[in-house]
Amino acid sequence: MEMSGGSRLDPYVDRYAARTHGMTTSEIRALFAVANRPEIISMGGGSPFVSALPLDVIAEMTSKLIAEQGAKALQYMGGQGDERLRELICGVMALEGISASPDDVVVTVGSQQALDIVSRIFLDPGDVVIAEAPSYVGALGTFTQYQADVLHVTMDDAGLVPAALREAIARVAREGRHAKFLYTVPNYHNPAGITLVEERRDEILAICAEAGLLILEDNPYGLLGFDGPPLPALRSRVSEGVLYLGSFSKTFAAGVRVGWVLAPPGVKEKIVMASEATTLCPVALSQYVVAEFLAHHPWQEQVKVFRELYRVRRDACLEALTASFPAGSSWTRPAGGFYVWVTLPEGVDAKAMLPRAIQGRVAYVPGIGFYADGQGQRNLRLSYSLPEPERVREGVRRLAGVLADELDIVTTFGGRPAPEAAS
């Protein structure tokens, strides 16, 4: 088999759409493939601790569900999602102060699908999305696939900085460009672990309303606060101008892939049509399982169980960081959710250090992935949600050892910033 003219091993390589050009495998993907091995304490992925669910109860419930309602649960359904579940979702959102009608809710395959649909119906190539710095990597990936440009806005310990948001909006206007929405995770931010303080929420809403900027409020962690009742969502304060994304991935089970979007009626219609074009309907069986769990089981007690165990793990993580991390590093102190955002000492590149960490049997996500503009070299995200508290402590201790070795190397070579790697 002589290949005259050479072969690129993919006969379709010249036919792909322009939006696929960034879809390549990467060194980071290779490293994460190792991180899932049991020998390694992975503080990388934001996986919920689903082992805390009453699995036997869910098994029995699902079995009964299929026996009694299988003809519906295993059938297609409407693209907007099961009406009973949408009613129950409105009850969930009411805990965060949102008053909504089931007619305005669209069930999606995780809130990730909602991100995709919202991007599809709003973003043209070259549009601008304004987002916190840093931002959820899965959202950035979606915006990039729709060929939008992301403009990051600074956060401080109190969340998104209003003055920085004003400046970003003005900058986009000066450049004659079109910002389509602000993407924000106001509660227990992924990856930053920061919560937008109460005092800033109305101001952020006012700034966006004044600029005609839609807000995409992504709130998967809102019920997982450690210090009191849930904070009222941005959407609870206004009925227009906010698309609200919710998810059962963190409060029930990520594997059921059930999320939702609450949208104004016109937008909702487009979301339903776009969703039908992708999946026909969200997964019926998963919707029935979630609805059963919400309707017939003390699900809020289950959320309390999750909150408590994540609080213990957060404490373990912070204590271990305080005990073992060197001067020059700092980290956020999340009041809920899954993540601590760490800033490493000057000169240390978290991405370059990852292979050393994996050899040290601990994994994290380098900060650079949470920016669309190359920031975050000195940052990393630690997720404390999945490992048991002792493993969280051990993971941070291991990472401190790795960091000490890396600092030794960096000091030897003068701590200059990393160049673009060959791979």
């Binding site: 091993l9 390549t24 495998t25 190792v34 091995r37 590149d349 370059a352 190397i409 003068g414 060959a422």
Partner: protein, 325 residues
């Protein structure tokens, strides 16, 4: 069903090339299965040795890449377990896997190789980083390529075009390995030449695969994303040069004491010099890997090739029990 008996394909492990290895392993196992071989794909973990003891296979195909598959330890463990396997012995793999050692052995066998220096991090700490790097640049010139001495798939490799880029490249490299190979960057036609030794004729080179990375650098993405690299088999070379390149690969295979299969990477410079870079004792077997491409170019089915090598390993095991197999 083949008369080979039950065989294992080992893949995965905890090396950085785990994903590539799993992909290689699946492809080899599938190819063997299509021939009716009783084959099982097995990850390398704490369950492996008890399993080998309780249910010894006829032979093992090592598709583990990176430190775990190529530094010799796994192969030594297989020898200690009395399980025959395809490929180099532990001691030979250990020499070949270390690029600095392999270059020295190849050099002694008369093969030109780019000027280089292998440096432990401790040397920089003890002798002073900045000064030592200045000497490296003075001696080798620019551009340079910095590679982990032990590693594969271009992980941790940086091309350095200015002196200022060298320190961070060293930092990135040391995250993968404690020894960095700093080598003069040689431009030219990049070739990968696979060597197969499955018969009485001794090691034989398959047609060279010419690698044309469309981004200009044959990095991790270019290696494993179909479409990013153009491969020419056989390489677009003058036949005499192609034969000389094949000789380099066979010479390296022999000089390093390898057996069964290997893949040697070389650069052919514009003035026709063949520069030896490295030899891989566990070549990739993925859909974008180079040994399967070369084998296909001469009509050799991957499954048949792997089965023959397993058969050879099994016979070796039966004929010399207790010896490295």
């Amino acid at each position: 069903m083949s008369d080979l008996g039950h065989v294992l394909v080992l893949a995965g492990g905890v090396s950085f090339e785990r994903e590539v290895s799993l992909s290689s392993g699946r492809r080899v196992a599938d190819a063997l299965m299509q021939l009716g071989v009783d084959v099982e794909l097995v990850d390398v973990d704490a369950h492996l040795l008890p399993r080998l003891a309780n249910d010894p296979p006829a032979a093992v195909f090592v598709a583990v890449h990176g430190v775990e598959g190529e530094d010799g330890a796994l192969r030594d463990a297989l020898d200690l377990s009395g399980v025959p396997y395809v490929g180099a012995t532990g001691s030979a793999a250990r020499l070949a896997f270390d690029k600095a050692v392999a270059k020295a052995i190849a050099g002694r066998a008369g093969l030109p190789t780019p000027a280089s220096v292998a440096l432990q991090h401790a040397a920089f700490r003890d002798l002073g980083g900045a000064m030592l790097l200045d000497r490296v640049v003075e001696r080798l010139g620019l551009p340079l390529v910095v590679k982990p001495a032990r590693g594969g798939s271009a992980l941790g490799v940086s091309v350095v075009r200015t002196a200022a880029e060298l320190p961070p490249a060293m930092v990135g490299c040391y995250s993968y390995d404690s020894v960095a190979l700093v080598e003069r960057f040689v431009t030219g036609v990049e070739l990968a030449i696979s060597v197969i030794d499955d018969g009485a004729d001794g090691p034989v080179a398959l047609p060279a695969v010419e690698i044309e990375a469309l981004s200009g650098t044959f990095d991790y993405a270019a290696r494993y994303t179909a479409g990013m690299t153009e491969y020419h088999v056989p390489a677009r070379l003058d036949p005499a040069l192609a034969a000389a390149a094949a000789d380099v690969a066979v010479t390296a295979h022999r000089a390093l004491g390898l057996r069964d299969l290997s893949r040697t990477d070389v650069i052919v410079t514009s003035d026709g010099r063949i520069e030896y870079l490295e030899t891989n004792v566990s070549p990739g077997m993925t859909t974008t890997s180079l040994l399967p491409l070369a084998a296909a170019a001469v009509g050799r089915d991957l499954g048949t090739l792997c089965r023959d090598l397993l058969q050879q390993a099994a016979i070796r095991g039966r004929s010399a029990p207790g010896a490295p197999v």
